[in-house]
């Protein structure tokens, strides 16, 4: 899935949340967006999901101009995007597996296929023993993994991950990144991840878009082949 921001501005009253954001992410790319709090990363995610519209400029997903697209097109695009929200956005009165199944139900997956697909992702994120628990009964890391499982279960063409490692310990953070990296390589899906984790940034050698005060201050292409650097906390990632 291809994403293009064409000189996008977003204002909230007198506050300029985004200023002249202009970049292109090709299908299959793995891109980090970094920046301090308030730099506009979450606004960027909201714009991609069309939860808010730009004050100026254009956003294209696979050549669909977002804010002029029909409701059906927007819904269809959202179904192809797996999202991991910073605050997880899990439904409180649904269990882990019900939260994951919801994403499948929304994309009209036949009911008979849902349990098997849910099982696969639950095992992938190592939440088998937590599948019948409600979000309030889970730790921050488990919530984050549930959100990851929900994003992956629909076989998305793009994953938007907003600070997915923020609440994870180092080992779980690396596991999550590995899952995203594997998915990116196997499916060719585009991954856009906002993070503060410098270890991960340095290790993965991916493209990094750095934002500050709503502007892009740097956009660096990967410096070396895309493989995970040896890291003391990432023993499972060594090949």
């Amino acid at each position: 899935m291809k994403l293009v921001f064409d000189h996008v501005f977003k204002n909230y009253g007198v506050i300029n949340a985004l200023k002249d954001i202009d970049f292109k992410i090709n299908s299959g790319d793995f891109v980090f967006i970094v920046g301090p709090s308030g730099s506009g990363k979450s606004t960027l995610i909201k714009l991609i999901l069309n939860q808010t519209t730009p004050s100026e400029g254009k956003i294209f997903i696979d050549d669909h101009l977002l804010y002029t697209s029909t409701k059906k097109t927007i819904e269809s695009l959202r179904r192809q995007i797996g999202v991991i929200f910073q605050d997880y956005q899990l439904i409180p009165d649904k269990t882990v597996e019900e939260n994951i199944a919801l994403a499948l139900d929304i994309i009209n997956t036949p009911a008979v296929q849902i349990p098997q697909k849910v099982d696969t992702v639950i095992n992938l994120v190592n939440l088998s023993s937590r599948r019948h628990l409600f979000p309030r009964q889970l730790s921050g890391g488990e919530l984050q993994r549930t959100a990851l499982a929900r994003a992956l279960v629909v076989d998305p063409k793009m994953i938007l991950a907003d600070e997915p490692t923020g609440n994870l310990d180092i080992e779980n953070a690396w596991n999550l990144v590995k899952i995203l990296q594997d998915y990116n390589q196997k499916s060719g899906a585009t991954i856009i991840m906002t993070t503060h984790n410098l270890d991960i940034l340095e290790s993965l050698k991916k493209r990094v878009i750095t934002m500050k005060y709503g502007e892009i201050v740097s956009d660096t292409a990967p410096a070396s082949p895309q493989k995970i650097k040896k890291h003391k906390h990432s023993p499972k990632l060594k090949k």
């Binding site: 959202r78 192809q80 919801l102």
Partner: protein, 290 residues
């Protein structure tokens, strides 16, 4: 999760709101069906009197054949006349003898000459009786006496009309209150589930996908409430039917026909579903704006 399962999930998560919605719907349909049964009973009573010869016009003695025929012709000109029967003096005697055949003392003393000839008129609209009575009372040279169950019919008409009008007013009011309560409850439920709705939308849920469980919830309240309301009235009327019917004997005030109940229960169910759906539809339209 199937839409029905999702709707059931919503109902279970706020049971008291759901209970209020069902109870209000039940009360509305209890009132509606009660008025239907009462109105149906009153119609049976009215029908009983309507099918009787409601007015009997006794003629004075000595009228010639032409005069009698003219009077009969005049009667036929009234609207909604069902039947006009001329009872001659001889026929009146035979009726009298038949009615008093067990009492020879009474029949021996009576001859055809002392019994008046009469017209027995039955109508399909009791309102005509009033006109006939007024017009024929003025013919003092030809008419001896007029007898009809004026008071009963008038009273029945008044009561039937009152029951129907009161029924319509009460049912309209309760339906409106039910509609508003379901509308508000669905609105509250939508507000409570705003987060879930937004999450579902972010995951690509269509507008209809999000709205569907709330619409089904309204339909559920309508169906369960209407069935509970009508069911209670049916149970109560069947329980008290023998006492009520013996009071109105020989009229069957409480119908025992299964088709009567089946028809009205089906109609109530459909109406309940319609009200529930309409209320939730407007609730969804008001509170989910995308």
């Amino acid at each position: 999760m199937t839409p029905i399962k999702a709707a059931w999930h919503h109902i279970r998560r706020s049971p008291f709101q759901s209970l209020v919605a069902v109870m209000v719907m039940t009360i509305s349909f209890f009132a509606l069906f009660l008025f239907i049964v009462a109105s149906h009973g009153m119609s049976s009573v009215l029908n009983y009197f309507e099918t009787k010869p409601e007015i009997t016009i006794f003629l004075k003695d000595g009228l010639d054949r032409d005069t009698v025929e003219n009077l009969q012709k005049e009667l036929t000109n009234y609207p909604n006349i069902r039947e006009i029967k001329f009872i001659s003096k001889e026929k009146a005697l035979s009726i009298y003898q038949e009615q008093n055949k067990d009492n020879p003392m009474l029949t021996e003393m009576v001859t055809a000459s002392i019994l008046p000839a009469s017209f027995e008129v039955s109508v399909s609209d009791p309102a005509v009786l009033e006109q006939i009575s007024e017009n024929f009372s003025a013919k003092t040279n030809q008419i001896d006496e007029i007898i009809y169950q004026k008071d009963i019919i008038r009273s029945l008409l008044t009561w039937t009309s009152f029951i129907r009008q009161t029924g319509v007013i009460i049912v309209t009011l309760t339906s409106l209150i039910t509609f508003l309560i379901i509308f508000v409850i669905i609105g509250m439920k939508i507000t409570n589930r705003k987060e879930e709705i937004n999450i579902s939308r972010s995951l690509g849920a269509s507008s209809f996908y999000v709205k569907r469980p709330f619409l089904l919830e309204g339909i559920f309240y309508g169906a369960v409430g209407s069935l509970a309301g009508t069911g209670t009235v049916v149970a109560a009327t069947l329980y008290f039917s023998s006492k009520i019917n013996s009071f109105f004997d020989p009229i069957t005030f409480i119908s025992m026909e299964p088709t009567f109940y089946l028809t009205y229960i089906t109609a109530s169910l459909l109406l309940g579903i319609f009200i529930g759906y309409l209320a939730s539809y407007f609730g969804v339209k008001r509170y989910i704006r995308f």
